[in-house]
C-alpha cells in the first residue's frame, strides 16, 4: 500500500520563502535592465577639494586610478589644477579676503570616468547616478580624496 505524500507546513514555508527570494531577484534584475542604458559612455568629471595642505596636495598625481571606499573603480585623474586656497578673516574693518599662499591649496581634479547613461543621467558604476554638488570619498593608492562634483559632461570621440 502506497503512503500518500503530504507536504509539511514548514516545508511549504521554506518553498514560499525561496519563491519570494527568486521573485525579489527577478524584480531587481528587471528594474536594472529596464533603465534603458545606452551602453558604456565616457565622461569627464570636474571635482573640487578645497583647503588641502601642500604636503597632502603633493600626494595626488595625474594618471592615478580612483577607487571608491568598497574598491570599485570610479575613474582616473587626467589633470589637477592647484590654486591658493581662499581665506576670509573677520576684522574690525569688516571681513578681509585673502588666500593661504603656499600653505594650503584648492585642488581641482579632472577625472575620466566610464559608466552608462540612462534618461539623461550618468550612472558612474552602471547603478548610481552621478550628482553635481554631491561629495564623494575616493582613494588613490596613497591618498584619500573627498571631492565635490562641480560639473560633468560626456566626452566626444
Amino acid at each position: 500500500m502506497r503512503v500518500k505524500k503530504r507536504i509539511h507546513p514548514l516545508d511549504l514555508c521554506v518553498i514560499l520563502l525561496i519563491i519570494l527570494c527568486l521573485l525579489g531577484l527577478f524584480l531587481r534584475w528587471k528594474d536594472l535592465s529596464a533603465r534603458d542604458t545606452d551602453g558604456a559612455v565616457r565622461y569627464e568629471i570636474v571635482m573640487e577639494m578645497p583647503g588641502v595642505g601642500w604636503e597632502t596636495a603633493a600626494c595626488y598625481d595625474p594618471g592615478e586610478t580612483l577607487y571608491t571606499e568598497v574598491g570599485e573603480v570610479f575613474g582616473s585623474i587626467r589633470r589637477i589644477e592647484r590654486q591658493p586656497a581662499k581665506i576670509r578673516v573677520p576684522s574690525e574693518h569688516g571681513t578681509i579676503f585673502g588666500d593661504w599662499g603656499e600653505e594650503k591649496v584648492d585642488l581641482r581634479f579632472y577625472v575620466d570616468a566610464e559608466g552608462a547613461e540612462s534618461n539623461g543621467r550618468f550612472l558612474w558604476d552602471g547603478r548610481h547616478a552621478l550628482l553635481c554638488g554631491e561629495r564623494y570619498t575616493l582613494y588613490t593608492k596613497h591618498a584619500r580624496l573627498v571631492g565635490t562634483v562641480l560639473h560633468f559632461e560626456p566626452q566626444i570621440g
Partner: protein, 167 residues
Amino acid sequence: MREQGKKGRRFSTVDAVIVALMIAVLVGAVTVFDRNRENRGNDIEIEYRLLWSDVQIYEGLASPWESWRAGDAVYNQNGTAVLGAVESVEILAHREPIVRDGRIVLEAVPDRADIVVSVKALAIFRTGDGLRVRDIRIAAGGVGDFQIHSCRLAGAEILSVREVVTP
C-alpha cells in the same frame, strides 16, 4: 511500525534544495576567500607623516611628545594594533591667520603647537584596497586617532604617505 521508522528518516525535496543552497553558499564563500588570499600583496615599507594640530602646551608640565623616541610603537585608536614605529618628531609653532595692517598674515599662537610625527611601517597593498597596515587603510588626507605611549593623538591627519625605496 516499518512505516513509522521510514517517516522519521524522510528526506524531502525541500531539504535537498536547502542542502544544495548551503553547499552553494559555502563554495561561494571559499572561492571569495581564496581570491582575497591570492590578491594579498607583499609587504611594502612605507613612511607616513601624522599631523596632530593645535595642541595646548601647559606651562610647568612636561609635554607627552618630549619622551617619544625613534622606534616607539604607534598604535591604532584603541591601542590594539601597532601601526608602525616613530621615525622622527617635529614640534612646530601653531599658526593661524590674523589681519594686520589690512592684510592677512599667519601668526604663531602662544602655547599652541603642531606636532608632526614621521612613522615607518610595513603595509600591504591590494588594488582598490589601498595601502593597509594591520588592515587599517593609511592614506594621505585621512584623519584618525592614534596612540603613542600613553598619549592619544585625537583627530590626527595623515599628511603624506610614501613608499620607502631601498637602494
